[in-house]
Symmetry: C2
Subunit: 253 residues, 2 copies
Amino acid sequence: MRTPEEHRRRFEEHLRALELSPEIGALDEAVRYALDGGGKRIRPVLCLATAEAAGGDPDHALDAAAALELVHSFSLVHDDLPALDDDDERRGRPALHVRFGEAEAILAGDALLTAAFGLALRYDRADVGRELTEATAGMIGGQYLDVGGNGLDREALNRLKTGRLFEASVGCGLWVARRQDQAPWREFAAQYGRLFQIVDDLLDGDGLVEERGREATVDLGRQAEERARAALERIDADTSVLAELVDDLVARV
Amino acid sequence: MRTPEEHRRRFEEHLRALELSPEIGALDEAVRYALDGGGKRIRPVLCLATAEAAGGDPDHALDAAAALELVHSFSLVHDDLPALDDDDERRGRPALHVRFGEAEAILAGDALLTAAFGLALRYDRADVGRELTEATAGMIGGQYLDVGGNGLDREALNRLKTGRLFEASVGCGLWVARRQDQAPWREFAAQYGRLFQIVDDLLDGDGLVEERGREATVDLGRQAEERARAALERIDADTSVLAELVDDLVARV
């Protein structure tokens, strides 16, 4: 079984070699800028590690992993726009709309989303694509609720805005491995996604920390961690690499 | 064989009954606003008429037709944004960003695109989805070239910005009908899309009319019409309804 770091390195190679749609022409530069931002590739690694743990060939999950990363990048590019979160920086670099302009950022986001679906269509079954479109719709719905500020609590928002794509990362890995008994895996995904967001909020001091205070957020994090580990124990497979992913998240705070 | 008007009515019924992703929640209102704008449904009708002419069941092409209309609507919603074409009106009503705000327009466009791919995934083969993603990437690339104003001639731009989705409309109809000999159909699609844009420019007095003058544009239109009809004659099938679609376009000017 590959380590998380081996999955990550294999994924970077795959992403670099990926032929994006020739149709987008010169927009390619902005799309590459969005993808080369040095993200931690948490969703792709989760997808690849799930596929392998579930008995599949992780290399066969590389296109799904790339599709997940492209959807994630699309959402960052559009969310950073002035009309949405209006963020000028992303991972220590100018946000795409600052570097290339707003029009390019809108179109590059559209191109990333389109290319993601193109990757999902490389599979001969529709389940990867369906997993991806439903998660993406959920994310967009969550971002809309967040922008509208209509009083959903932060955990409910997070389930849409970040949770859906984490669940899809595990889901795509399972489809590639043709695994049917998905319930405990999906419970793991939900808790792992929750833990990810909690850790992120603890590091940035925002989100849940602002809403509930640091101590309550730390407690939520412990609960999410325990539930993620409990879900892994209910899975009839070697989930040691997935457990390592939980360790890595916890080690960030 | 159904008439164009019968295809259009059947399509409107299908679109009204369509279950969009429940995941997008309250964004549904903006998405419906974009779809209910009273468009002529030219692309869906072209898709349905092609599917039937090619020997397929036009009802089986309804999801593909809806996917095409959603992609078209997505492109209008994003193109109207202030950072792109900055249009305040669309089909005699306020543009979506004027009616609902810019954030909602960006997200509604994203949701339309995502829902379109979801519809394409209802088919058990990937060809409809692939046709759609490639055409969409081409459209986005064309819009980028147009916004950047980098000197492509108007006909080359039109081949991307409008032509690609017209070709996909015919292409999806052919895939649904499982038709293999696609070359003359696709030549018809290219010329029909060209004719559509020329007629549009003649009616609005912009685009090609601004670039080349009215007389030259009328000549281009005649050429596109002749080539579209010639392509239909090379097709071994009853293409009378497709010929009627050409008549309808020509009758607009």
